[in-house]
């Protein structure tokens, strides 16, 4: 196999990694917000429920959670996971017969939403109450104070920890191979056993590195954009 052929072969796998990355970020980041608000709720049962949920999700290895979402439908509800589920968005992505990506996406989204929620909570709680009160005495509503005064300060504070999580996320996508989802490392393994080629396994690192490099530049720009004020 030529270098180009290997690259294209691995790229097929990396597309899956990117899909997991994108879906987790697009669904997990917003989902983290209600979880964060529940964890800060004054209504005690909701607060503790949310805290226990976050504890469980963060306390169990992500790989185990993938297994749970992969096997639970069959074991508990007797719904077999079918490789032949062809969702429209998967087809648009050029991926077919890959129903087992669903439990992976669910596990990643739930897992990362919990991590994000803790970052949001830390960010929101780190804003001094004086900022809220300064808004209230001017006659602003609670939601105006949150949206126009607190939010941007929170965003500034959560950008660095969010950047960390986002960079970890792309590398975590490799865990999907525990249920034989052919992400990039799985694909490289295939080459090793079928073609006796070991170097592609190490070559996969370059894909991650390039992508993480891009992320670093983008996230650095966001951070820089918020550099004009101190909070």
């Amino acid at each position: 196999m030529t270098f180009l052929q290997v690259t294209l072969f691995l790229w097929e796998g990396f597309k899956l990694s990117l899909l997991i990355f994108a879906v987790t970020l697009l669904c997990g980041a917003p989902l983290g917000l209600p979880i964060a608000f529940c964890s800060m709720s004054k209504f005690k049962p909701l607060k503790y429920l949310s805290k226990v949920f976050v504890w469980v999700v963060r306390g169990i290895p992500l790989m185990l959670q993938i297994f749970i979402f992969y096997y639970a439908p069959g074991l508990v509800f007797n719904i077999p996971i079918s490789r032949n589920i062809n969702l429209f968005f998967l087809q648009n992505f050029g991926i077919e017969n890959m129903g087992m990506i669903i439990p992976v996406l669910v596990a990643f989204t739930v897992n990362y939403a919990c991590y994000f929620s803790e970052i949001y909570r830390g960010g929101i709680e780190s804003i001094t109450y004086g900022q809220y009160e300064a808004g209230y005495v001017l006659g602003l509503t609670k939601s105006q104070v949150f949206r126009h005064i607190v939010l941007k300060q929170v965003i500034k504070r959560i950008v660095p920890p969010m950047s960390n999580e986002i960079i970890t996320l792309i590398k975590d996508t490799a865990l999907a191979n525990c249920i034989m989802l052919p992400e990039i490392i799985m694909k490289a393994g295939e080459l090793a056993s079928r073609e006796m080629l070991v170097w592609p396994l190490f070559y996969t690192g370059a894909f991650y590195l390039v992508f993480v490099g891009l992320l670093t530049i983008i996230l650095g720009r966001v951070e820089k954009k918020l550099d004009y004020f101190k909070a």
């Binding site: 001094t128 300064a134 005495v137 006659g139 602003l140």
Partner: protein, 252 residues
């Protein structure tokens, strides 16, 4: 007209009674300074007046308009509380400027959100207020680029932008380096001359003596003594007042 009537305010936190029946009147155009030792309840009183705390008992009125009546125990709605807060402005010890906004934006934010006029009107008024506190050249600076004294002057302009009937200050110079207190006190003095009604909690005795029409000395949650600066500083009646003034003189 905007005369403030504070009547028999009580407030406790848990079991500690912090305010135990505070009553006083503030007429339009007057400045009252509140002095008293740490923990006597001065901040709590200002916070009650600005509806950041709800008193347990008593009334707060402006002229015939009863803003709060602890007796009928009907809880104020959020909208009523916001309405009430508009009568007052509060300048905090720690400024609490909004760090992500420029000086001008800090001053215009609330009037714009609450639609107190067209954007041009609001900006024009804000620029005039910023000039009044002597910061025209800092209009587009951010709070982190200003000294403490400058930040506090912006906070004063910000409070004035909502055009409150009564402006309250909670130790406006306590967080400042000594050489910066003068510029803030001067702004407050100018406001007094332009006829602003103000309540100033302060440890600056000389300042209190010079700008106030009335001095309130608080001790342990009650008004121990109230009178003109001359009464309080030259002929204090209460032993506690004498003791407090003696101590604050010694400190200097």
């Amino acid at each position: 007209m905007a005369n403030l009537y504070i009547n028999n305010i009580y407030k406790k936190f848990g079991k500690t009674e912090v305010l135990k029946g505070i009553s006083f009147t503030l007429n339009e155009g007057e400045v009252v300074s509140i002095i008293g030792s740490s923990g006597s309840g001065k901040t709590t009183l200002l916070r009650c007046i600005n509806f950041l705390e709800t008193p347990d008992y008593g009334t707060i009125s402006i002229d015939d308009n009863v803003l709060f009546n602890g007796e009928n125990h009907s809880k104020l709605t959020d909208a009523q509380i916001r309405e009430n807060r508009l009568h007052f402005g509060l300048v905090f010890q720690s400024f609490n400027l909004f760090p992500q906004y420029s000086v001008l934006q800090n001053v215009t934010l609330a009037p714009k959100l609450l639609k107190k006029g067209t954007n041009e009107e609001i900006e024009q008024k804000a620029k005039q207020l910023i000039e009044q506190v002597g910061l025209t050249d800092k209009m587009n600076s951010y709070p982190c680029q200003l000294s403490g004294g400058q930040q506090q002057r912006v906070a004063i302009a910000r409070a004035l932008a909502m055009n409150p009937d009564i402006l309250c200050f909670d130790e406006p110079t306590s967080a400042l380096d000594p050489e910066l207190t003068g510029e803030v006190l001067k702004v407050i003095k100018d406001l007094k001359e332009s006829g602003r009604t103000m309540i100033v909690v302060t440890h600056e005795m000389e300042f209190a003596k010079n700008v106030s029409d009335k001095i309130i000395f608080m001790a342990d949650g009650v008004i121990e003594e109230i009178g003109t600066p001359k009464d309080i500083f030259e002929n204090p009646v209460s032993e506690k007042t004498k003791h407090f003034l003696q101590n604050s003189l010694e400190r200097i």
